[in-house]
């Protein structure tokens, strides 16, 4: 079931990437993930799709240098461009190492309600997952979980703390 979904999302996301300008007004609820991913993907296609001079990947040591925490704006689940190249490198590593797997942990800041924030964290994790998949990773290598606002990276209230807590953490379960 889950695999089917991920597959759907992946194909939909990919289709969006390659057919730039494709409409994102899909109303199918089952494909909701895909349509959201389409939005993210299409918005960023031009900036990273042509980037061919990334880290060569393949070695476990190379990914240690990569960014593993990706930040988001309030009530948003769009991956910022700053994270694109590193996410692409992670994706290449996963593509080259089929036995490797990652866990994406979505988080939110303390504002708003907890269950809504859990959903928001999941959305963020899913957005990152789609970026990995369209860049070559297999969805079977990726596990997502949302903690909402339950596990803040930084305690305290204020814009600085909140910005650090609205994040997706990429963790290698195996390499």
């Amino acid at each position: 079931m889950r695999a089917l979904n991920v597959f759907k999302a992946a194909t939909l996301g990919a289709a969006v990437i390659w057919a730039a300008g494709c409409s994102t007004t899909s109303t199918t609820t089952e494909g909701g993930e895909g349509s959201m991913g389409g939005q993210d993907g299409s918005g960023s296609a031009s900036s990273y799709g042509v980037d061919g001079s990334g880290v060569s990947g393949g070695s476990a040591g190379a990914i240690d240098q990569l960014q593993t925490v990706f930040y988001f704006d309030f009530d948003q689940s769009v991956v910022k461009q700053a994270g694109f190249s590193d996410l692409e490198a992670h994706a290449r590593y996963l593509a080259n190492n089929p036995s490797a797997s990652v866990r994406l942990e979505g988080h939110a800041d303390e504002r708003g309600t907890r269950e809504y924030n859990i959903a928001l964290g999941e959305r963020r994790a899913n957005a990152v997952e789609r970026l990995l998949v369209v860049n070559g990773a297999s969805s079977s290598q990726i596990e997502t979980i949302s903690y909402g606002e339950e596990k803040p990276a930084v305690m305290g209230s204020g814009d600085a703390s909140w910005a650090q807590n609205r994040r997706v953490e990429l963790k290698y379960v195996s390499r």
Partner: protein, 431 residues
């Protein structure tokens, strides 16, 4: 012509003079009624473990319906009807007076004899039970029971002072997080731990019979929904699908559980029949649908959805599948909870450009009132008699519990010793 007029006038005057004078009063003072709770007498030896009168006084004072007379302002300390001088209390400004005396009984228990008086009428108000028997270790229960009786005698509403709350307490010890599901008296006293984990615990929800709790625990590394019996401690994992398993809510008849699953791609509301384990999806939208709560009649479910671009509260009729958006003010309305009469909707509300507050919307008139203003409020939960909303907020960066009367008049903070306290859930009546 003139004569006709004159006689007409006279006729009118005559009829007017026969009618009774009617005075219409449309304005008054929106102040809680002052009650004097006199310290109870104790005829036993040694000191009692609890100041019963103080507990009753706090209960009544926090209800939003009453203000209490400080003991320093009392001119006398009667413990029985014969010692009550109404004039004294009238002068002190009390509308009502409660006296009591506690006596030890032969079997090592105590007997509490209470009297409630209408100071203005100079009359005793009968209580369902003027005499309360209690174990000496259960004085708090006895006190809450007395509060319930006084409250009901004076307001006509059932008191909710003998109810309980559960809440989540989180602590960080170095690198280790600790999460506790706590159960306490409605005033936060006598907390005890129902469940403890190093992974998050969320969204506790009472069954309508007050015997079970449903909650979300991440103890397996993934969120799953559990049901736990309070008396036996027996627990059961109900749902653990891939993705979200959250926001359980008991149906009024106790046979169903509304919950949120994202197994189909994104968060949707489902209804689980607890006996047959049959799962029914009730929302179909690619937006976030979460935080279900049942209408008191069990015929509809209210939930939060950002299908309109921002989180707002919707009502779904389970039979007709009619969907109705309930909230329109502000850009963030979420986690609705209804009063038992279904009239008032408490929620987390953020006015445009403002902070997160607790607000109440009168579903009859549509009027919305903001009850708090600290800015990071969440998780409103309503007392079963609809008089008080308990909610979570932040104080000095720490999560604490507060309560506010439904009319916003009275607000108070629950005691908490340590950690981050949040997600209070008010029990139904337990007796």
């Amino acid at each position: 012509m003139r004569q006709i007029l004159i006689s007409l006038c006279l006729l009118m005057m005559a009829t007017a003079s026969r009618a009774e004078l009617v005075v219409e009063v449309t304005q008054g003072v929106s102040e809680p009624s002052p009650v004097a709770v006199v310290p109870f007498g104790w005829s036993g030896s040694g000191a009692l473990s609890e100041d019963v009168a103080k507990i009753v006084e706090q209960d009544l004072g926090r209800s939003g319906f009453f203000s209490t007379l400080p003991r320093e302002s009392m001119l006398s300390f009667p413990t029985r009807e014969g010692d009550v001088y109404y004039r004294d209390w009238r002068v002190s400004g009390a509308d009502y007076l409660l006296t009591g005396r506690i006596e030890p009984t032969a079997d090592g228990q105590v007997k509490i004899d209470v009297g409630l008086y209408d100071v203005l009428k100079e009359q005793r108000i009968p209580l369902a039970n003027d005499i309360v028997n209690s174990g000496s270790g259960q004085l708090r229960d006895a006190a809450h029971y007395i509060s319930d009786q006084v409250f009901e005698a004076l307001t006509g509403l059932k008191g909710a002072f003998s109810t309980r709350i559960v809440y989540i307490q989180a602590e960080r010890n170095g690198d280790q997080n600790n999460y506790k599901l706590q159960l306490a008296d409605w005033d936060g006293a006598r907390p005890r731990t129902v469940m403890e984990s190093n992974e998050p615990i969320m969204s506790p929800s009472w069954s309508r019979d007050g015997r079970k709790l449903a909650y979300v625990s991440f103890e397996s590394g993934r969120p799953a929904i559990y049901v736990q019996y309070l008396t036996t401690g027996k627990r059961e994992r109900i749902q653990s699908f891939p993705g979200l398993n959250g926001a359980p809510a008991w149906s009024p008849d106790g046979n169903q559980l509304a919950l949120v699953l994202s197994k189909d791609g994104n968060p949707e509301i489902y209804v689980l029949n607890l006996a047959s384990r049959q799962l029914q999806r009730v929302t179909h939208h690619y937006a976030i649908d979460t935080e279900p709560t049942w209408a008191p009649d069990g015929k509809s479910i209210l939930f939060t959805s950002d299908r309109g671009g921002q989180p707002q509260i919707y009502r779904l009729d389970l039979e007709s599948r009619n969907l109705e958006r309930l909230t329109w003010e502000g850009n963030y309305n979420a986690r609705g909870r209804l009063t038992d009469d279904g009239r008032f909707l408490a929620m987390v509300h953020r006015p445009t450009g403002g902070n997160f507050t607790i607000a109440v919307q009168d579903l009859k008139s549509g009027r919305l009132d903001i009850l708090t203003e600290a800015g990071l409020e969440e998780s409103p939960s309503i007392a079963p008699n609809g008089s008080i909303i308990i909610y979570a907020t932040k104080q000095n960066g720490r999560g604490v519990l507060s309560a506010v009367s439904l009319d916003g008049q009275v607000r108070f903070r629950m005691p908490s010793r340590s950690g981050d306290v949040r997600e209070p859930a008010w029990s139904p009546y337990l007796h």
